[in-house]
Symmetry: C2
Subunit: 163 residues, 2 copies
């Protein structure tokens, strides 16, 4: 049984395995999406943000954070990089001087097709061997898991709030 017999991630046992599957799928999707986007000088996370803005421009950074399910600090850094690369632009909000709204620049809107296409291709490859019904099943179950985790994380510190 040579070491090289470990061809790839083994389907092993118990608790850890479940966690690894979720991690692997998320990371592999990122890797694949990055490969599609590298020629355009973009990363997967940036495209999630750009695709959001393509749906609706001029969001505040707090809104973007909530929509993407990440923190405001992460958004701040990503907008920094996207702005440096001239994909987006920060503009002050007229009413609230704390907030900045993020707008797409022409370079981004002109690549609209590329961005949604990349996401669609990753999905196509991910679900290549699954029937439509199975994809529906999978996404429905995943949304339920996300809801469970959201609840678990929300109820994390309630004992402190009960003051």
């Amino acid at each position: 049984m040579p070491d090289t017999a470990i061809a790839s991630v083994e389907e092993s046992q118990s608790e850890n395995e479940a966690g690894l599957v979720f991690q692997h799928v998320a990371r592999q999707r990122i890797k694949l999406l990055d490969a599609f986007l590298a020629p355009h000088g973009l990363t997967s996370a940036q495209v999630y943000l750009l695709n959001r803005l393509l749906q609706e421009d001029g969001r505040t950074q707090v809104e973007l954070a909530r929509l993407l399910g990440i923190g405001t600090v992460a958004v701040s850094g990503m907008v920094d990089r996207l702005e440096a690369a001239d994909w987006v632009e920060r503009r002050p909000d007229g009413k609230d001087r704390r907030t900045k709204r993020v707008f797409l620049k022409a370079s981004a809107t002109s690549k609209k097709h590329v961005l949604s296409e990349a996401a669609a291709q990753v999905n196509a490859l991910s679900f290549a061997t699954l029937s439509d019904a199975e994809v529906d099943q999978l996404l429905t179950l995943m949304r339920r898991v996300r809801g469970n985790l959201r609840d678990a994380l929300a109820g994390e510190v309630p004992t402190l709030m009960r003051g």
Copy 2:
């Protein structure tokens, strides 16, 4: 329609949404696992590695990378941190002077129960509202997706290798 109406991540449309669900579940699981492990001075990724070693000690770093589905660079850094915190120890391989094998130290083996318990609890919370059959379904579909992605990534650059 005030801004604050965006309570959390909305179930939205189309291609992006599928990608976000996978990302969210993976990240929320990490967050929850980190919360359980913080009192012990450990992180989720470190526990994935430790749990692997608890199954079988003395793996080389390349083996660990393959088993965990990450790169050798990531393993190197993690073993650095785990070694600094006295959880594990690198020992030279007797036959091959390039390789180093990673062994658990007593501080880690004594916490064996804590580590597997944390992983089990995250699973329990993730799947709280799912039946056993649904969990099986979900994991089966996720493994198939992982396989599809693995194939897609493996066949990524074949046109270059065909020389």
